[in-house]
Amino acid sequence: MTRKNVWFAGLAMPVMIVMLLLLAGSPSVTANDQPSAANAEVKIDNFSFGPQTVTVPIGATVTWTNRDDIPHTVVSTDGVFKSKVRDTDEKFSYTFTKAGTYPYFCSVHPKMTGTIVVQ
């Protein structure tokens, strides 16, 4: 019982740090095609994903936030990930554990496309 609690505490700390980083507004996304140190954020504004291309290291979590008045989705073109419909201010996160290029789109408005590059 005691051992289990210690294990949870050990896990809780990094999780909290990640959450704090997210709350603070992650500075990791700088520009297109620039590898970032940690997690990344993609904003959905005006029917577009921004930045359109994000490069992250293996293990990084990318979080999308819909800031439009219209619902959107985040769907991997190759079927790797698929969000539920995200209404205004709702988020979707996915952690990338393998290197590769991941094109994605909004299945509601398929003209909206983006790419996550994992290095």
Binding site: N46, F47, S48, D68, D69, I70, P71, T73, V75, T77, K84, V85, D87, T88, P103, Y104, F105, S107, V108, H109, P110, K111, T113
Partner: protein, 340 residues
């Protein structure tokens, strides 16, 4: 609008569009910013009327029948562009009920709901139950298939339909086909009908007399209005090739929340206004999102924006790709919307 100004606009339009289409009637429709259209079929030629003009006066006595198209109710939407979409849908239904010449049925061209929620569909049903026309035909918009691959929509509104909700019916000699172009959309693309539905449509139209008036309706426009915003259907040309031999074809769409019309040979394309909120004219805003205007100016701004786009759009934004050899002409179709 003063007559003098109207005349000036008419004159300009005539100059811009020397195609024999009567823009006067259309412009007057554009100036009206209501929430639905009445279609009157007379001798197989559909003619649209704005509600505000048709109610309170005699409707064409020679009409064989009429029906109403409404679109884009977006029940559940509650943002500043229209915090009460249920009320505006109710207004639309009230106007339909006030039409002296009772329409035979209603066609809803999709985006019934905002988020495909059961509660949103419930609210829609409740409002629509108040319509005097009891028969309502539906096609889904992309907002109606946001969850469970559209199962919720199909259970409620897709009885007797095929695939993702397409179907056809005949009414007093006119053949109607309701198409679905919002399912299984592909990355980077626009609306899509898909192979299975196209095969069905070809078969559905086969063997029908070329003199049968055809009405195709679908949510996303079946003509390319603005590809950057996905306002078109990738494989619509295939569908339109099946109706080439017919003498009168009318294509009714929604999705873009504003009136636009194009006449191409014997095919007349028309998009309806939303009952919920306006969207900007193509390219006039960063995106196609809901257009926020002061509530008391909503209808006025809608109308003005549409007129502006129509003028420039004929020569700039809308590219005509004639289906037949005869080119673009209104003569085979009997003209655009009139009487409004």
């Amino acid at each position: 609008m003063p007559d003098k100004k109207q005349d000036l606009i008419d004159q300009k339009l005539q100059d811009l569009n020397n195609d024999g289409v009567d823009r006067r009637g259309f412009l007057k429709c554009m100036a009206w910013a209501g929430t639905g259209l009445v279609w009157t079929l007379s001798g197989g030629i559909p003619v649209s009327r704005a509600f505000a003009k048709s109610s309170g006066r005699d409707v064409d006595k020679s009409a064989d029948f009429s029906f109403v198209q409404i679109s884009d109710s977006h029940i559940g939407f509650n943002k500043p562009a229209n915090p009460d979409v249920t009320a505006t849908l109710q207004t639309a239904i009230n106007k339909i009920n006030a039409i002296p010449h009772k329409p035979d049925f209603i066609i809803h061209t999709g985006d019934l709901s905002q988020l495909s929620k059961p509660s949103e569909f419930d609210t829609l049903d409740q409002v629509l139950r108040g319509a005097s026309a009891k028969q309502i035909y539906f096609v889904p918009g992309e907002h109606d298939m946001l969850t469970d691959n559209g199962e919720q929509y199909l259970q409620r509104y897709g009885k007797g339909t095929k695939g993702s909700g397409w179907s056809s019916f005949d009414h007093k000699g006119v053949h109607f086909a309701g198409l679905v172009n919002v399912a299984n959309l592909k990355a980077g693309g626009m609306g899509s009908l898909g192979h299975e539905q196209l095969e069905w449509l070809e078969d559905d139209l086969k063997g029908r007399s070329a003199s049968t008036p055809i009405v195709l309706y679908a949510h996303i426009p079946l003509w390319t209005i603005y590809p950057d915003w996905g306002w078109g259907t990738d494989d619509s040309e295939q569908a339109l090739s099946y109706v080439k031999r017919f003498g009168s074809v009318t294509v009714l769409n929604g999705h873009i929340h504003q009136i636009m019309q194009k006449i191409e040979g014997k095919v007349s394309f028309h998009t309806a206004m939303s009952t919920a909120f306006p969207q900007p004219a193509p390219g006039t805003a960063p995106s196609a999102g809901p257009m926020k205007v002061p509530a008391d100016q909503l209808q006025q701004v809608l109308g003005i924006t549409d007129v502006n786009y129509l003028v420039s759009g004929r020569s700039l934004a809308i590219v005509d790709s004639p289906l037949g050899a005869s080119g673009s002409s209104a003569s085979g179709n009997g003209g655009g919307p009139g009487g409004s």
